[in-house]
Symmetry: C2
Subunit: 196 residues, 2 copies
Amino acid sequence: MNSDTEPLCFTENEASSSNLLEFLLLCGKLKETKRKGWVDHHIRYPESVSDHMYRMALFCFCSCPNHLNRDKLVKLALVHDLGESLVGDITPHDGISPEEKNRKEAEAFRKIRDEYLSSCTVGQELYDLWNEYENNLSEEAKFVKQVDKLEMLIQAFEYERGKNDWFDRILFLNAWQPRSTYGPFGFFHELIALHS
Amino acid sequence: MNSDTEPLCFTENEASSSNLLEFLLLCGKLKETKRKGWVDHHIRYPESVSDHMYRMALFCFCSCPNHLNRDKLVKLALVHDLGESLVGDITPHDGISPEEKNRKEAEAFRKIRDEYLSSCTVGQELYDLWNEYENNLSEEAKFVKQVDKLEMLIQAFEYERGKNDWFDRILFLNAWQPRSTYGPFGFFHELIALHS
């Protein structure tokens, strides 16, 4: 049984079947969307946005503190960058203000909700998950924001190891600065130490 | 609060922190592992194994029938090919019997449980999810097996559309044959019709 109380997303009719296909084709764009930060750092064949969200989901699955809802963490991880299927991956170096980025992403999620998934309630659910993440509305959202940065840090470590060349320390330290001291994340001190 | 009754995966000590990093580095290999079926079909820059599992997770999230547990579907989707981080993507055309493939994957999940995640219970949980999927032990597992094939079918459609060239019809029909007639999957009839 679903733990949620909402009615089920897709009902068994042709219209919703077509919508589901369109939505899944949209999700497929995340496989083709390369993470902009790596493209800017001239990484060849960098990871996709969906690669990133996949590992974040497993990261959350394996490191959820006792007081948080693990299923919620996984959902937030899977949904938080979904808007990039419509607006692409915008980084702090693209000259777009955080407010404008937020506006574009909100618009993307409204489009997903009102056009791609208009025949079911799951669109609203996706919107609410993004909103919760984006606006730090829960402890789970705050945790996943940390995981977002930490997963990037591991990926930077992997690319650097492969190239035997270090990225800009600033990138690392910016990602690290606001991180939690939650125990299982202690290994990031080791990664940072490698940059010292 | 976690819905599971197991004790939490990672405790707050240095040993488990190192294990978590090693496990996440292992998961990173799924970003580099290209889906073998596409490599064999000479697709340039094909999707990764984690790309595939990511869209499967969203697919499950949006098409879960009322009588199934949606969180379980998402977890099965995220975990079912995780063993490929150790054994690679084995396809039916690799000359490896299904029994041997199963044996290799079981060994991979035991290694994840007993070495990478030995300090916590999440390793056993991952093993159990894989076992449930692999051996069709629940209605959720059977559903995710369909989604596995259907996601592949959509990806084939996308690659074919991009190339304006069709793959081997056999690939398509084999993937389609055992599929359910569950309503939201009706759009696959359209994809199949394109091959007729």
